[in-house]
């Protein structure tokens, strides 16, 4: 067994459901994409598939829980829609490692914009971006974090999803006066154009 190839195969099987189905349908051709020899590909395809599916499922659950921990307010606001929206996001986006919880949350928030508004109110992506920006700002040193929002983000926290909110452009800034000092934050309402 070439170790690099078998590891690459297991990684793809774990993170990519489309690749997983293709591999079990045609192990030799699809296994070759990651460098498996025909013998290796067949041996892997003939070994018990259930534990591999379970591994993939537990990775999926772990990512879902990780984004929930990173964006507790936004995820709570979504209620039981969160699972469905996360599934749709994760189907397209591979995971990014255990240290990259913020990156995964960033990917999820970016994907929200492409989901139909029937699944979430128009202001919801702003709420998620706002919460995420807090997390990003907490981790950066003295570099300020600056974000522009379409909605008055300060008022979005704890709103029910059904709430109607009038757009009002808002500038948000986070900074630390020195690397060891507490994080500061201000919101500026901007004139509507």
């Amino acid at each position: 067994m070439g170790l690099a190839a078998i590891q690459a195969a297991l990684a793809r099987l774990a993170i990519d459901p489309t690749w997983r189905d293709r591999f079990y349908r045609d192990p030799i051709a699809v296994g070759a994409e990651v460098g498996l020899s025909p013998t290796e590909a067949l041996a892997l395809a003939e070994s018990d598939r259930r534990p591999i599916d379970e591994f993939a499922a537990s990775l999926h659950r772990k990512r879902r829980a990780q984004i929930r921990r990173t964006l507790p307010i936004a995820v709570r606001a979504l209620g039981d829609r969160y699972g469905r929206l996360f599934d749709r996001y994760a189907h397209e986006a591979p995971p990014r490692g255990s240290r990259a919880d913020l990156d995964d949350a960033l990917g999820f928030v970016a994907a929200l914009n492409s989901f139909p508004e029937t699944d979430r109110p128009p202001w919801f992506p702003d709420l998620a971006r706002y919460e995420l920006a807090w997390q990003l700002a907490a981790r950066t040193g003295i570099w300020p974090v600056v974000r522009l929002f379409r909605f008055p983000v300060g008022r979005l926290i704890h709103l029910p999803l059904a709430a109607e909110v009038t757009p009002a452009p808002t500038l948000a800034i986070w900074w630390r006066p020195s690397p060891r000092s507490r994080l500061r934050h201000v919101l500026f309402p901007l004139p509507r154009r």
Partner: protein, 284 residues
């Protein structure tokens, strides 16, 4: 193997019995300092952490010996390890200056994918060589002794040339690393494969064990999951007792991640583990 870990000749200090640190424990820990001899932290949570998180670490380090436990170095990756991660980890180990630190005998990165989950290695001689090569590189950057943890795995990759105890023993021999024996993982793997963990006790490299992990998991369908979400079951206590009888263990950590009980319950489990280590005179 100059930097090898042999708890007998290197005389690693005995740290006692402690907890895997999770932020919700913070306040209770300081109220119960006598019951917790040392802490294990998840290194990954402090690698690019905000100043508040580093303050928390400093506070902990001022009051408890701390062992960093890493998740994502991917010690078994054929394509090598991530330089930035190794560099950040080296910085953390330097700052804490612990008697040892730990990682998992597993891989988490392959083919440009960061899985973010501990994946099992195929139990082959090639995998042993890869781990040995990666550990050499780590030693070039981190001189503190490294100990490796056995993981749970339901996946059995094809091509295995060695069984679990043989694979672990060969890795420890070739790398000179000590063993972080996760007793719950030993039990879980044996149980999930229909083996009796008590029957194969003499096959494990107990002489290399420096630290233990223990925890309780749960059953999902027919499979035991090491969820660290329940109290330690009797079977694991029995195995921990047998492990302490055989190994020159220097520290024991209870891992509890989910479904957190009152601190008093965790302290009871620590006391019980402490009594076991005392029975075999593992430390004063």
């Amino acid at each position: 193997m100059g930097a090898g870990v042999n708890p007998m000749d290197d005389e690693l200090p005995a740290l006692g019995v402690g907890l895997g640190f999770r932020p919700p424990f913070l306040a209770d820990l300081f109220r119960n300092r006598r019951g917790v001899d040392f802490l294990e932290i998840t290194a990954d949570h402090y690698l690019d952490a905000p100043p508040e998180k580093l303050d928390e670490l400093k506070l902990l380090a001022d009051h408890f010996p701390i062992i960093p436990h890493a998740l994502d170095l991917s010690i078994g990756s054929a394509e090598g390890m991530d330089d930035d991660y190794l560099e950040a980890l080296a910085g953390l180990v330097e700052r804490l200056n612990p008697p040892w630190w730990s990682e998992h005998l597993a891989f988490t990165r392959a083919g440009g994918v960061a899985i973010g989950h501990l994946a099992p290695l195929p139990r082959t001689r090639e995998a042993v060589d890869v781990v040995a090569r990666n550990v050499e590189r780590i030693r070039g950057r981190i001189a503190t002794p490294l100990i490796l943890e056995n993981i749970t795995a339901t996946i059995d990759l094809p091509g295995a040339e060695l069984d679990e105890p043989e694979f672990l023993s060969m890795v420890l021999d070739q790398t000179g690393c000590g063993w972080l024996c996760d007793v719950t993982n030993l039990y879980t793997n044996a149980e999930n494969r229909g083996r009796d963990p008590m029957a194969e006790l003499d096959r494990w490299p107990w002489g290399r064990a420096v630290q233990f992990h223990f925890a309780g998991g749960h059953r999902q369908g027919g499979t035991l999951i090491d969820s660290h979400a329940h109290t330690t079951p009797p079977e694991v206590w029995r195995l921990l007792d047998e492990a302490a009888r055989r190994a020159p263990v220097r520290g024991i950590i209870l891992e509890r991640d989910e479904n957190l009980p009152p601190m008093a319950d965790l302290l009871d489990e620590l006391d019980r583990a402490r009594a076991i280590a005392r029975r075999y005179e593992r430390w004063a």
